[in-house]
Symmetry: C2
Subunit: 215 residues, 2 copies
DNA sequence: GTTTGTTTCAAACACCTGTTTGACATCCGC
DNA sequence: GCGGATGTCAAACAGGTGTTTGAAACAAAC
């Protein structure tokens, strides 16, 4: 029997079967590499070595599958950022650069292929994802409020609107460091600037943004 | 007869027939509004009120049609930027903010719906366009060299690599001001920051970037 | 051994995609 | 008038899309 309505037809206490995990991994990797619209259900099941019906059996639809991956990865990222920020607020609450470091570091410094794919998937979702993803990103800004509050605390003399503009531009500078964005920098600098040198990129980015905040 | 090989089967001296122009306009508008992958040939011909075969008759393929729009609009934008830059170099060659103003202004300040759509199309092309578009953008950086040279001239003491990093981040801050990017700013500021107020956005952006350049 | 719930499978479904065809209409130069 | 190039059209093409079906396989429970 199909039970298409349920997302996890298996007993809730038992761990999900390998097939489900393989679908999640395959979908994430393919979307990260090729983009949201370029990946078909058949591409996913081919890589996961699973029958075509498995996607709808386990996730209800292709879209639900991708939304689940997005929700999982976004929560992971926001949790990591919040942890880093809490540490900064505890020790150096007036250090604007340290606050922005907590925001930037988790997306700039990655040390495993799995993490690289997860971040790439998230960025694809932001830009190419279905309307539901975009809407979630647009409205769910709770995790960003923590950073804005921390910045307002560190820069008490700055008008709030001014602070938010600068925070917005800082996010722009951050998000511009994805494949497809930084290639022109490599060409322009004739290879001198290497965005794949993560630590160096992070340093330069934080320098730029801290100056933008006026500190 | 079809003459599928030629892009402009009509006599080259005569102006293109209304049908061709209607296809160009319809394709640009639809892609600007809905994205590269979301628009089908049939969507385009429906809006242009043209038979389905007209796209391939006039442009050879859907992709060629979109590439032609991209090339036209990109050339327009770069020409405008170059004109503004030349004026700045002539009058205030040391004014970093003025140089960046020449780069930003044409994409931030637009005064017609037609122009808004053209800019939106260009941004869609950058992010979602076919590989050929991405490759063109990546390699054709001639128009950016003028700005880098102007900046290097205005900031002779700055190491070139440093300058290029900052230029790169400035482009990131610029490109982040598109629908889909700035919505969170509106939510975060509870409507106080209005990215649709073009002059205000441009001022804040130039403030931020100029500070980022250390001037 | 039978029953029950879960998982897998080949096949098909209905629909959409970009592109092509060949016939028909139109217009211009001669 | 005629011939040939130019434009338009309905129809079909070949292939891809996400999703569904119903039967089979499997495991554990009784």
């Amino acid at each position: 029997m199909n039970c298409g309505e349920q997302n996890t037809p298996g007993s809730v206490t038992r761990e999900p079967p390998p097939a489900k995990l393989r679908i999640l991994a395959a979908a994430e990797q393919l979307v990260a590499e090729q983009g949201f619209d370029a990946v078909s259900t058949r591409d996913i099941v081919a890589r996961a070595q699973v029958n075509i019906a498995a996607v709808n059996y386990y996730f209800g639809s292709k879209q639900s599958l991708l939304l689940e991956i997005f929700a999982t990865r976004a929560a992971e990222l926001n949790r990591e950022r919040a942890t880093l920020l809490a540490r900064v607020i505890d020790k150096r609450p007036d250090d604007v650069r340290a606050i922005m470091h907590a925001l930037f570091q988790p997306t700039i410094l990655w040390n495993s292929e799995e993490r690289r794919l997860a971040l790439r998937f998230l960025n694809r979702a932001r830009r190419e994802g279905p309307l539901e993803v975009r809407e979630t990103i647009r409205t769910d800004v709770r995790h960003l409020y923590r950073f804005v509050d921390a910045l307002a605390n560190a820069l008490p003399q700055m008008p709030h609107e001014e602070l938010l503009w600068r925070f917005h531009f800082a996010l722009g500078a951050l998000h511009h460091n994805q494949p497809g964005d930084y290639e022109r920098l490599i060409v322009l600098s004739d290879g001198a600037c290497r965005p794949d040198d993560q630590q160096r990129l992070l340093d330069h980015l934080l320098d730029f943004v801290a100056r933008g905040f006026g500190v």
